[in-house]
Assembly symmetry: C2
Homo-oligomer: 466 residues x 2
């Protein structure tokens, strides 16, 4: 495809997406297909000869869209949002167009330097501690997901706790990690991957607000010490997946200091809220963390994948993940004057992901991004007040940000029926969790195009179907 | 940004990329900047108010491009290619536009089903064994990189070798892995991550063609057994990074069978060659592999990231990586009728990457893709013959595919000077390795737009500067 034909096909594709976004409310939010339905529409064999671009675009409508759950719909309230935006899409498109590989500074210096720079910007934008900035001993890097960021934090912690020997010798003792019962499943997965063992992740009890109990953490630490184990890592959550609970990071940090543990703070979804000064209380204590992550691909208008991962001591991370074969040697690396981001995460190759972040921050400006967060939080507060005003419903947890957890007073069976009925309607999509053993509906408000009328309509539908 | 403004900004972006591709030969291939040069052009603080899209695009030219090494230039011969193409860019753009999260089948069925389908197509396109198809016990998944694929293979192997207990209990014995001295550094990195220990990766000696020696492998296996260790994993390479050496997979597979080891075949770069029936000899023995990967983002015109990872027994992989918290439970998953790809890799979230592969395969057709591979291989063969015809040069390894390893007979210092001089010219970019202790230049031909005239000009420049 010549650049000239690319111009034409590119315009068609842009138009297709614009039309999709214009019409997105017409589709049922949750795809209405059974397993195998999409595959049955696809030919058994790939074409021997190339096909026209028109045919490909046509199949997007005919074959793909029926199987798409519309994450960008303003009526998508499930999971946490994955709110993309036009400038993010275009920044990512430029990344595809340049097609550079940013594994080393030397393989495309702008890819590394823009990333370092924008991640330093974000430290200021979220009022994160200066120790996460590249100007000191720390620094930030874009990871694909918070799962990968947690794994990298766990690995660096494992190494620091074993004098950087485990990487070489393998796990040779019982290393114990701590997180709350409400923490993300990625921690358990990471402990399995890292050879520590999922059973050595202690799920610490939570208080009535679903936040980690420091006294329970301390008890677990003492028990493990007595048993001769090596406690090494705590993951505190700022905004749990189930209910946006916020662990008491200052108290947890104090225990980490006393026991010599690595503190990772996972603010995957909630972190973006700290763009707004009035919401920065969520980050109390983060100044003591060894590492921290949040996902602009959840709630900062940047399309997946974009997790921002920060460490206070980049040397610990790099020592953990660096390997330098001959074919990657180069003068810039050997001078020590540059970051080679392949040493900051699992993969070697990497895409120019900073471009989309840069496009988003510049297009919206910090104020524009704050306005999005404020709108979502205000809508969630309003929705929560509606729930509270209806006797048939109850809030299942406090709603400090943009997630409202609620249920029918009538109990789990009724709540489940309501959810199934709502999702089958096609008019909205929400998901569930369990809190204190009871089924709970989660309504997360974070769509780029979600307005008050969408939340109102959702509540209207919920009340009618209840 | 409304859909209407997105139309306009999108067209500008498409035009920018088209112009970039049209003018790409005007830029020095290797960026000419010193550490910090790009950051100095960026403002210290992010903008409070949004900026115009024109200003952002202008800075692509003024700030970013000077720091870009042009991986898409037809004069880029370094590392292995990362050959993007217009249909891949546009497929990925659609993925950004849809903005779906494919962690579960249920979160967007088309994202999972198109991926399964296209990866089954690729089994046929490369004549890989049917056991890698989803219709049997196996299946394919898109990973970000071959590094991540190798890690997943190593983890599944670790679990299979320990009755799927290590994930839970942690590493509790010496597990030993095997790969050649020429294998990719990702294996060493993966062994550190997995808690096995880098020192337990045995670097097996190679023969004169830089391929793994089965007798040396067997000796190492016997030694480890005698020492009471648990051999569990062999990674054979089809096309090493240094020299495209191809390990004797049939003999290695026979040892894996006898010793009960997981065989992973890493064909990250070379695998795409098997699109052409006359090059399928590279895959001899792959029918015995437990897992296999190749990267369409290297040599199949699909922009990063896109590694295709196959397993013969998907249950082993899924058992290794699956964790199901309440908030991810859903009827489709519990029915067992669907794949949930979050259980096939490290991250939870995932992008709709199958779209770009689908666009590429449909736009070019299988024949079109073969034509690209054949052109690159023919050009490399021709280049190798030119090297052989000049007394000052010698080939440093056989060149079975699209990589030519060569050096000046005058020795390492002269070869290094030549490389530095060539790369400083801006007219091409190539990288080096060491083979048998000697410095070697690597010229990899795989650019989407690389034609005979570019390779001729490269040789002309090399001869002149030598």
């Amino acid at each position: 495809m010549t650049p000239e034909r690319f111009r034409e096909a590119g315009r068609q594709t842009i138009d297709w997406i614009a039309r999709y976004l214009e019409q997105i409310e017409r589709y049922p939010v949750l795809a209405r297909v059974a397993p195998g339905d999409i595959r049955r529409r696809l030919p058994a064999h790939p074409p021997e000869q190339g096909e026209s671009f028109d045919a490909i675009l046509r199949d997007l409508d005919d074959v793909i869209l029926p199987g798409v759950t519309h994450w960008q719909s303003p009526n998508f309230f499930a999971y946490f949002p994955g709110n993309a935006s036009p400038p993010a899409m275009l920044g990512d498109l430029v990344s595809s167009g340049l097609g550079v590989q940013g594994m080393l500074w030397a393989t495309s210096p702008a890819c590394t330097e823009l990333e370092t720079h924008v991640l330093d910007w974000l430290v200021d934008m979220l009022a994160l501690p200066d120790r996460f900035k590249s100007s000191g001993q720390g620094g930030g890097v874009i990871q694909d997901t918070a799962s990968s960021a947690s794994l990298c934090a766990l690995l660096a912690a494992r190494e620091r706790a074993t004098a950087f020997r485990t990487n070489d010798t393998g796990v040779d003792r019982v290393l114990t990690a701590y997180t709350s019962t409400q923490a993300h499943s990625s921690l358990e997965k990471a402990a399995g991957i890292a050879g520590i063992g999922r059973r050595h992740v202690r799920a610490i009890e939570v208080d009535a607000g679903y936040a980690m109990r420091p006294d329970a953490l301390e008890r677990a630490l003492e028990e493990d010490r007595r048993a001769g184990h090596t406690p090494f890592f705590v993951c505190a959550t700022v905004g749990t997946t189930s209910s946006t609970a916020i662990d008491p990071v200052p108290a947890v940090a104090e225990l980490c200091r006393r026991y010599g543990l690595w503190l990772h703070v996972d603010a995957a979804h909630a972190g973006s809220a700290a763009l707004c000064p009035e919401l920065r209380w969520i980050h109390a204590g983060v100044e003591h963390a060894d590492s921290y992550c949040f996902n602009p691909h959840k709630w900062m208008l940047t399309n997946f994948d974009c997790d921002c991962f920060y460490v206070a001591d980049r040397a610990a991370l790099i020592s953990t993940l660096s390997v330098t074969p001959e074919y990657l040697r180069n003068p810039a690396t050997e001078s020590g004057a540059v970051f080679d981001y392949r040493d900051w995460h699992i993969p070697l190759g990497r895409r120019f992901r900073a471009l989309k972040l840069w496009f988003v921050i510049r297009h919206y400006g910090v104020e524009g991004l704050r306005a999005h967060i404020r709108r979502h939080v205000a809508l969630a507060q309003e929705f929560a007040s509606w729930v509270q005003g209806d006797d048939r419903f109850e809030l299942a947890a406090s709603a400090p940000l943009n997630l409202v957890c609620f249920r029918l007073v009538a109990g789990d069976a009724a709540t489940q029926r309501l959810m199934d009925d709502l999702n089958a309607s096609g008019r909205l999509y929400l998901t569930h969790t369990r809190l204190a053993g009871r089924l709970v509906l989660r309504l997360a408000i974070g769509g780029t195009y979600t307005e008050r009328r969408h939340v109102q309509a959702a509540w209207q539908l919920i009340r009618t179907r209840a």
